[in-house]
């Protein structure tokens, strides 16, 4: 079970906004890079985010470049789950592969600072501030296992294959 405070973002938040190209030289130094997480979408994000918080976004979150650094620095900033109306597919895979839950539900009734709860096992998101619940289809078994083991590398280590 995941519970946290919501940081609200809009539609089409690209990996350029999450992890700007001008910090390309910091890709070998994720700690430093994480200080710029989502900088071009919300310059104050990295300062205000707290461990366990949840990102709620609109359509097509994580669109653009395949840079996995985008998903990684979101996780490193303390975010426990990303919720969006839809995800760009490479970004979605990257989240699962690094063990960051990413769930798809319609998000229009979420606002900044709402408290959200995510139940991956039963497949629902609850907005505790506004008191409503949205369900999402259960993840395929493979994805559940990858998330449970903490990401794709751990999963392969445990299973010795994909």
């Amino acid at each position: 079970m995941i519970e946290g405070k919501v940081h609200r973002f809009g539609d089409n938040v690209s990996t350029d906004l999450i992890c700007p190209g001008r910090f390309y030289h910091l890709r070998g130094n994720l700690q430093e890079l994480a200080k710029h997480t989502l900088e071009d979408a919300d310059a104050s994000f990295a300062k205000k985010v707290e461990k366990g918080d949840i990102i709620v976004a609109g359509r097509n979150f994580g669109c653009g470049s395949s840079r996995e650094h985008a998903a990684r620095i979101i996780k490193m900033s303390g975010i426990s789950c990303v919720i969006a109306s839809s995800f760009a597919r490479i970004f979605f895979r990257n989240c699962i592969n690094i063990g960051l839950p990413a769930v798809e539900v319609p998000t229009k009734n979420f606002a900044d600072a709402d408290i959200a709860e995510v139940n991956l096992k039963d497949g629902f998101v609850e907005n505790k501030t506004k008191n409503f619940r949205l369900s999402f289809p259960k993840f395929p078994e493979k994805i559940v296992k990858i998330l449970e083991t903490g990401g794709l590398v751990e999963y392969i280590k445990e299973n010795k294959s994909l």
């Binding site: 089409n12 190209g21 001008r22 390309y24 470049s65 592969n97 590398v153 392969i156 294959s161």
Partner: protein, 413 residues
């Protein structure tokens, strides 16, 4: 619905059984690659798996995004890649942008290609399944030789007719993205077929497949026809050819594009799907024009731009040229394009990504406005969130470089 989509045909063939959309399958990978931005993280993943590389000769590390390295951190990233590849007997390639090198040297019909770069679908124009992934998926593909995917549904795009003079494949794909939106093909494959294909040469098809990701697609695929056969034989790879045919009745969702009706289009800041017909934006002042990248950095793109630029006495915008590979540079020299552009004052960069992803070589100033033939105009893409990027065809870019404002290339032909 008896006939299968191109994606389903390729995946079924690979697994020697009939697959259907929605199924999760583990596929053997024919080629896996990274570039200098995604490679170091993939290497960490491979080392952490301690399984080595399953097929080292099918693992490619391209050094293309920050070349030559503009600062020591990136020089060190390149060094890490080269050392790793030497030790594990993988290939290091530094002669051009990863996608251009894939189509020149490696990609072939029916291949399954895992690329740690979002524009991997470029190779799909050769009739293969080539999709973009992150570093961990690439690491896993290199270590295990396989990748898991959900067998995708496809959207069919039936092309008919012929493009008018001054209109290019870039205008076709911009129009499609404008019509279906930036998530219009999310999780799906965009497949192109129809009688109009005979009027879309190979290099133009790469421009189209390259940009399918901008509509959210998993990849873009073209049938492997005579054009693919000719392309492969021109690269000295005739033996790689195998035919792949598209069937119109395979698609539940289908769009028809009449090529004669397509007009020059421009994507406006800060979304690729923010597409307007040229007459709506003509006259917008532009400071910097970029022609090249993996989208439009092939010889036919420079020839099309040159047809307009050759008559210019001077340029009103700062023109940056970024060829997709060293082979393209050679052809530009052979055809006299290189020296004419140079004497016009254009800044010709070494082959690579150049200013496309905002790392170096052409970062925009605050408030500056660029028109580029690349594939993305997201805020900050060219290195400065305070700048603005429009996207167009090489012809529109050439006309704009001459006038310093967005210009319809048809007025200059």
């Amino acid at each position: 619905m008896g006939k299968k989509t191109l994606a389903v045909q390729i995946i079924s063939e690979k697994l020697s059984r009939e697959v259907s959309p929605g199924e999760i399958v583990v596929l053997p990978v024919d080629r896996a690659f990274c570039q200098d931005g995604t490679g170091p993280l993939a290497i960490d993943g491979i080392l952490s798996l301690s399984m080595g590389l399953k097929n080292p000769s099918n693992c490619y590390f391209f050094i293309d995004h920050a070349v030559p390295p503009p600062r020591k951190e990136l020089a060190n990233a390149h060094k890490k890649i080269k050392n790793f590849a030497r030790e594990y007997k993988a290939k290091v390639i530094q002669e051009g942008i990863c996608h251009q090198m894939m189509i020149e040297k490696f990609a072939a019909p029916f291949d399954i290609i895992v690329g740690a770069d979002s524009h991997t679908p470029t190779s799909g124009a050769l009739g293969c399944f080539a999709a973009g992934f992150g570093s961990t998926d690439a690491a896993s593909a290199m270590a295990t030789g396989s990748v898991w995917i959900k067998v995708p549904r496809s959207i069919g795009f039936k092309l008919s007719g012929k493009l008018k003079r001054g209109v290019s494949a870039k205008d076709v794909i911009l129009k499609i993205i404008g019509d279906i939106g930036s998530s219009g093909a999310i999780y799906k494959v965009m497949e192109f077929f129809g009688g109009g294909l005979k009027n879309i040469p190979m290099e133009s098809r790469f421009t189209i497949s390259n940009m399918t990701i901008e509509a959210g697609a998993k990849t873009g695929i073209f049938p492997a026809d005579e054009f693919v056969k000719e392309w492969l034989s021109a690269q000295g790879r005739s033996d790689d050819f195998r035919p792949l045919e598209a069937f119109e009745d395979a698609y539940e969702e289908k769009h028809e594009i009449i090529l004669d009706d397509v007009v020059p289009c421009v994507a406006c800041p800060h979304e690729v799907s923010n597409v307007e017909r040229i007459e709506k934006v003509a006259g917008e002042p532009i400071d910097v024009v970029v022609i090249g990248t993996c989208t439009n950095g092939r010889i036919s793109d420079f020839e099309a731009a040159f047809e307009i630029l050759k008559n210019a006495k001077k340029l009103a915008a700062y023109l940056i040229i970024v060829p997709a590979s060293q082979t393209v540079v050679e052809k530009m020299v052979e055809k006299g394009i290189f020296s004419r552009l140079n004497s016009l004052g254009a800044k010709i960069l070494p082959p690579g990504c150049g200013p496309c992803c905002g790392v170096h070589e052409g970062i925009l100033a605050d408030g500056e406005r660029a028109l580029s033939t690349a594939n993305r105009n997201f805020r900050g893409r060219m290195g400065n969130p305070q700048s603005f990027v429009w996207l167009s065809s090489p012809q529109t870019a050439a006309a704009t470089a001459i006038t310093g404002k967005i210009t319809d290339p048809r007025e200059m032909l």
